[in-house]
Amino acid sequence: MILLHGLGGARDLPVPAPLAIVAGTIAVAVTFVILALAWRSPRFEGPRGSLGIRRRAISFFDSAAWDRFAAVLGLVIFGWCGWALLAGADSNTNPVFGVFYVLVWVGVLPLSLLFGRVAHALSPWRTIARVRCWITRVPADRGLFDYPERLGYWPAALGLFAFVWQELVSADQVTLSVVQLWLGIYAVAMIGGTVLFGLEWLDRADPFQVYSDLLARMSPWGRDAEGTLVLRSPLSNLATLKPAAGLVATLAILFGSTVYDSAKDSPAWTKFVAGLSAGPVTVGTLALLGSWVAVAVTFYVAARVNGPISVRSRDLPDLLAPSLLPIIAGYMTAHYLSYFVYQGQITLAQLSDPLSTGANYLGTGTLSPNMWLMDHGTFLATLKVVVIVIGHVVGAIAAHDRTVALTVASEGQARAKTTAGIPMAVLMLLYTSTGLMLLFGT
C-alpha cells in the first residue's frame, strides 16, 4: 500500500483560492519593491554583516561541558530508538517510524532554525567516532585520507535522495525490516566514512547533519572570524555559507522532494498514475528524480544569467545557492506543519512503549493528540501561506543582497542601473507560485 509521507493520517484541506491568490500577489509586489529599492552596498555581508554579539552566556554553549552533555543526550536517544528498531514490533505502533519520518526529518527544521547545528551536537556518529579515537589514541578529526573537496556535499545529496525515496516512493515505508536495512546501510556509511575521512565526512555526507547545518545558517547562531560563537542576524549568518560542490544538488533535492510530495497527493496525479501500465514505485521514482533535476536545472540556469557579469557565470550557482534556503524552509514548514503536529504527538506517546508491549516507560503513553490546529482549518491555511510568503521575501532579499555584494566585490561599486538580480527574483516567484498552486490544488 502506498502511504503518504511514510505514515498515515488525514492530510490538510486545499488552501482556499482567494488566500493563495492574495499570497501570490503579495509575493510579487514585495519582490518588485526589493528590486526597485536596489540598495547599492551589501547589508548582510562584508564589515556590516559580520558583526555578532558575544556574551559569556553564549560562550557556555561552546564549552566542552555542553558539548559532552549534547553528545550523551544524542547517544541516549539513539540507544532508545535503536532498541525499538531492532527489538520492536513490525507494526505502526513502533515509535521508530515516527522518529525516523517525523521527529527527526521534520523536527530538524524548527530545531535547527532556533538552536543552530542540532544534528551536529547530537550526532551519535560523531560521538562514536570520538570515543573510538579516544580509545585508539588517534586524533578524531583526521581519518585515513583527506576528504576529497571535489565531492563537496554530493554524498549528502545522494543520502537525501535515498531518504526521500524511502519516505515518499517506497512501497514499504512502514515495514520494519526495510527501515532496518535503510538505517543499517546509513550507519555503516557514516561510521565507515569517519574511519576513512575523519569527522569532516559527517559535515559533508550525513544527510541529516548537512540538512541541519544548512538550516542552522538561518539561525541566529554563528561564528565570527576568530571562530567564537556569536549571535548574529539570520540573513548575515546565511551570507557566511561557503560555496561547495553539490550545494545546489542538495538544496534542489530538498525543494524538489517537497514539490513531488505535494503534487503526488493531487487527484489529477493519482488518476494519471492509475492509468499508466508502469507500477507506482517506478513512476514515483522517475517523478522524484524529475523534480530534483527540474529544480536543479531551473536554478542553475537562472543563477548563471543572473549576473553580475563581472563574476564568472560558472561560479554563480554555488554563490547564489544560499538564497534558496529561506524558500525551502518556508515551503517545508507549510507542507509538514500539521503532519508534524499530529504524527509527532502520536510518536511521543509511542516512545513510551518501544516494544509495543503496552508499557509506559516515559509516561507519555496515555497522551492523545491535541487536534486544535487541524480543527481550525482557516488558521492553518493562513499560517501556511504566510510562512511561504515570508520564506519567499527573505530569500529574495538574500539573493539581491548577494548579487550586490558580488558586484561590489568584483567591480568596486554597485552600478545605478543594472539588470543583475532579476533572473533570481523571477525564479523565486516561479518556485513560490508553484508552491502556492500545489497547496491550493491538493
Binding site: 500500500m1 498515515g8 505502526n92 512502514v174 488518476k271 492509475a274 487536534m371 487541524m374 480543527d375 482549518g377
Partner: protein
C-alpha cells in the same frame, strides 16, 4: 531477544508479513469497521452527509480518484458492490479500514476533524476517492 525460538518465530512472522505484500500492518491505533451486507442498493440515503458508490472487482475499482466533500461530523456512507471480499483503507486521523464481503454492503463513517481523507482499495493499491471534510 533472549531465546532463539523467539527470534525464529519473529523472523518467520516477519517473512510471512512481508510476503503478504502489505507494507502496512495494522496497529492498535487502527479501527476495523465491518460493512453491513444489504440486499439492494436502493433506499440508502445520505442522512445529512454523502453517499459514495464504490464497485470493486478482482482487477479494478471504481471510481479511481476524484474528490467528494462533506461537513465535519456528517455521515459518509460507502455503498460497496463487490465481486470479491476485501478491505478499504481510510486514511483519517486515526486511520481505519473497512472489511467488506462479496455482494452489496454499506459502511457509515463520520469524521470529526477537517482534512483530506484518502480512501483506497487494499488489494489493488488504488485510490478510490479523496474525501474533503470541512
Amino acid at each position: 531477544m533472549k531465546r532463539p525460538i523467539v527470534l525464529a518465530v519473529a523472523g518467520l512472522s516477519l517473512a510471512v508479513l512481508t510476503l503478504a505484500g502489505c507494507g502496512h500492518t495494522t496497529g492498535t491505533g487502527e479501527k476495523a469497521v465491518n460493512a453491513v451486507p444489504l440486499t439492494s442498493t436502493t433506499g440508502v440515503t445520505a442522512e445529512g452527509g454523502i453517499v459514495i458508490k464504490i464497485s470493486v472487482s478482482k482487477t479494478s475499482v471504481n471510481p479511481t480518484g476524484g474528490t467528494a466533500s462533506v461537513g465535519v461530523g456528517k455521515p459518509v456512507t460507502l455503498l460497496i458492490t463487490s465481486t470479491v471480499a476485501g478491505q478499504i483503507h481510510v486514511h483519517s486521523s486515526p486511520e481505519q479500514h473497512i472489511v467488506f464481503p462479496v455482494g452489496i454492503s454499506k459502511a457509515t463513517l463520520t469524521f470529526n476533524t477537517p482534512g483530506t481523507i484518502e480512501v483506497e482499495d487494499h488489494a489493488l493499491d488504488r485510490q478510490i476517492v479523496q474525501i474533503q471534510v470541512s
